[in-house]
């Protein structure tokens, strides 16, 4: 177990800069999830930590050691791949022991580790099977087992659940969370699925175009996104955004309005004339709700999921999504008014950065 530190990490292929000045500190035993859209550099970052790709510049430290020039095996990491990457011609037991053969460990120690991992992951009845005779979920457990037996300082997961079906994804996700509690190891987990990020992480690192867009605890990211990208990326369905302009500012009370928004007042210090984006999550946009923000829209479609329904409404040229609890969902085709409270509004300036206002604590 160890801490991990990335200092000013850069990766470029010719002109294309994949990662730009990434700085990251991960505590001992922390579960950090790297999340972002495809092509944001999260997998490249993980491969560089593993030692499978070399950074163009910058340092990687695991514990007290600078590991830039170390082979993957010498870094004391273990990686679980999206494709499982099991050795197809070896049975489950051999898959787990193959790497240890080269580690000078005594045989009883290897056997103990495999037995422990097999018990932990319920692989005991499968030890003599080949990967092709296993289901996807079993294969991924073997891949995790192969990582566990190495007893690494840092576990690296590269979208480990992407190839599983929905039900298995949920149960394997729970198993990984339990595993982290049990092993108390440092884990870095890459995914593009924000549900996995929210449920597993001690800390989420949201990446966008090779840069860290924001890092923080899952709920902090959810309730106080630092910029437009994080606001739009975290949360499902995504946040609603409205264009607005500060029309007046009278001693700390701003009056905002826009093409699709009727004028409304908020406490704040922004000067008149500044254009901003107002964001509000579907769950905070209440049908007939109170609050300064009021929008009227024509409901075009209602998705009923049972405990909640999502109303898709057209407001001017924009589409908004509102979450409606219980059975009171409107019918498609009616006009409805949605309202949001001041503390549920997120304001972003023209560069996409959060304006300290209207956030929850």
């Amino acid at each position: 177990m160890a801490t991990l530190a990335l200092n000013q990490l850069n990766k470029a292929y010719g002109e294309a800069r994949i990662l730009r000045d990434v700085n990251l500190r991960i505590d001992d035993g922390e579960f950090v999830v790297l999340v972002g859209p495809s092509g944001c550099g999260k997998s490249t970052l993980l491969r560089m930590i593993a030692g499978l790709d070399a950074p163009t510049s910058g340092d990687i430290h695991i514990g007290a050691r600078r590991v830039n020039d170390l082979e993957p095996a010498a870094r004391k990491i273990a990686m679980v791949f999206q494709s499982y990457a099991l050795y197809p011609h070896m049975d489950v037991a051999k898959n787990m022991t193959f790497g240890l053969k080269f580690s000078n460990l005594p045989k009883p120690e290897i056997e103990r580790r495999v037995a422990d991992a097999a018990r932990m992951l319920q692989l005991e009845p499968l030890l003599n099977r080949r990967p092709r005779d296993l289901s996807g979920g079993q294969r991924q457990r073997v891949a995790i087992g192969r990582a566990i037996v190495r007893e690494p300082d840092v576990f690296l997961f590269d979208e480990p659940l992407s190839n599983l079906d929905a039900a298995l994804r949920v149960s394997t996700r729970v198993e990984i969370a339990k595993l982290h509690r049990l092993l108390k190891a440092t884990m870095i987990y890459v995914t593009h699925d924000q549900t996995e990020a929210m449920t597993l992480a001690d800390r989420i690192v949201v990446m966008n175009q090779g840069e860290v867009a924001q890092e923080g605890k899952p709920l902090d990211l959810y309730y106080t996104p630092a910029n437009l990208f994080v606001a739009g990326f975290i949360g499902s369905p995504g946040m609603n955004f409205f264009d607005a302009v500060v029309k007046r500012n009278d001693a700390g009370t701003m009056t905002l309005g826009g093409e699709t928004l009727p004028d409304f007042a908020l406490p704040g210090t922004l000067a008149a004339g500044i254009t901003i984006k107002v964001g509000v999550r579907p769950e905070h946009l209440r049908l007939g709700g109170d609050g300064p923000l009021q929008v009227r829209g024509a409901v075009e479609l209602v998705e009923r999921l049972g405990e909640v329904s999502y109303a898709y409404a057209r407001v001017g040229a924009a589409q908004i999504i509102a979450e409606i609890r219980g059975r009171e969902a409107p019918l498609a085709g009616v006009e409805a008014v949605f309202g949001a409270a001041a503390q549920d509004l997120h304001l972003f300036d023209a560069t996409g950065q959060r304006v300290a206002q209207g956030s929850r604590p």
């Binding site: 491969r47 593993a50 030692g51 499978l52 082979e71 993957p72 095996a73 010498a74 990491i77 273990a78 990686m79 791949f81 999206q82 494709s83 499982y84 990457a85 099991l86 050795y87 197809p88 011609h89 193959f98 790497g99 080269f102 580690s103 192969r146 190495r150």
Partner: protein, 273 residues
């Protein structure tokens, strides 16, 4: 069956007949008396014309056994090194991208296009220089050179289809590079290895040219060259020639049967990328 498929089958059947008829004639006539071979070369052996004289003569001859063993040594030896070095080179060329990789790959591709026989004179001179003239080693070396470019070409194509994650996983697992090749990659190359083995073995086994120019004593002849001994200037022992040739077909057929199941998947694996 649609007409176009009928036409395809007609063409293929015609070609099959053309290719197999001479072999059939050789095998058929090897079981006949000398008179019957000349009297009715196209008719199969019957109770009057059936004879094993050719086979008894060939099997009793001391040389034929030696020639068979020589052919086997040369063919299997060359096959082994072509597969070993071919797979290693293909792995290196696809996995380790260093300066000169592209040039080296191009150089080897040229080897696929230029027939090795063009270098015959130089090869003979070189072997004489090395003192390898009239040895089986000379033949093995030449056949390894002949087989390598195609082997590398096919195997490299195949290695590229092995998922990257597998090598990365092995590296994270602390498996040394040589062991990654021999214990992770090589076992997965089986279908491709079968393809390359057949492509390598058949031309070597059948080759007459290099034994002819590189071996002079009867003890180093291969079977294809040895058979020529039965073809005299004045008298040709057709019974022995046909029997020896029929026997020479068997090892190649055996190798094909052994590898054929792997071979089919090997050929299609390269086709759909």
């Amino acid at each position: 069956m649609r007409p176009s498929r009928l036409a395809v089958h007609a063409v293929l059947l015609t070609y099959t007949a053309l290719a197999t008829l001479p072999i059939l004639l050789v095998v058929m006539n090897s079981f006949k008396t000398r008179n019957a071979i000349f009297g009715a070369p196209l008719s199969p052996p019957d109770s009057l014309t059936f004879s094993l004289i050719g086979y008894t003569k060939v099997l009793r001859s001391a040389h034929v056994g030696t020639w068979f063993v020589n052919s086997l040594i040369v063919t299997l030896g060359a096959m082994f090194f072509v597969l070993l070095f071919g797979a290693m080179a293909a792995w290196a060329l696809t996995e380790y991208r260093v300066r000169g990789t592209a040039a080296l790959a191009l150089y080897l591709t040229i080897g696929v296009m230029v027939p090795i026989r063009l270098g015959s004179v130089a090869i003979v001179a070189m072997m004489r220089h090395l003192g390898l003239n009239d040895t089986l080693l000379a033949l093995v070396l030449v056949y390894v050179a002949q087989g390598l470019p195609m082997a590398i070409f096919i195997l490299a194509e195949f290695i590229q289809q092995i998922p990257r994650d597998l090598r990365d996983a092995a590296r994270c697992d602390g498996v040394p590079e040589t062991r990654i090749f021999f214990e992770v990659i090589a076992p997965l190359l089986r279908p491709a290895v079968a393809t390359v083995a057949v492509f390598t073995v058949v031309p070597i086994w059948n080759d007459l040219w290099f034994p002819l120019i590189l071996t002079s004593s009867e003890s180093t002849h291969t079977i294809t060259l040895g058979v020529q001994q039965f073809l005299g200037q004045y008298i040709t022992d057709w019974n022995s020639v046909l029997s020896a040739l029929s026997l020479a077909i068997l090892p190649v057929v055996a190798i094909y049967v052994i590898f054929s199941r792997q071979l089919i998947s090997g050929l299609t694996a390269g086709a759909v990328k």
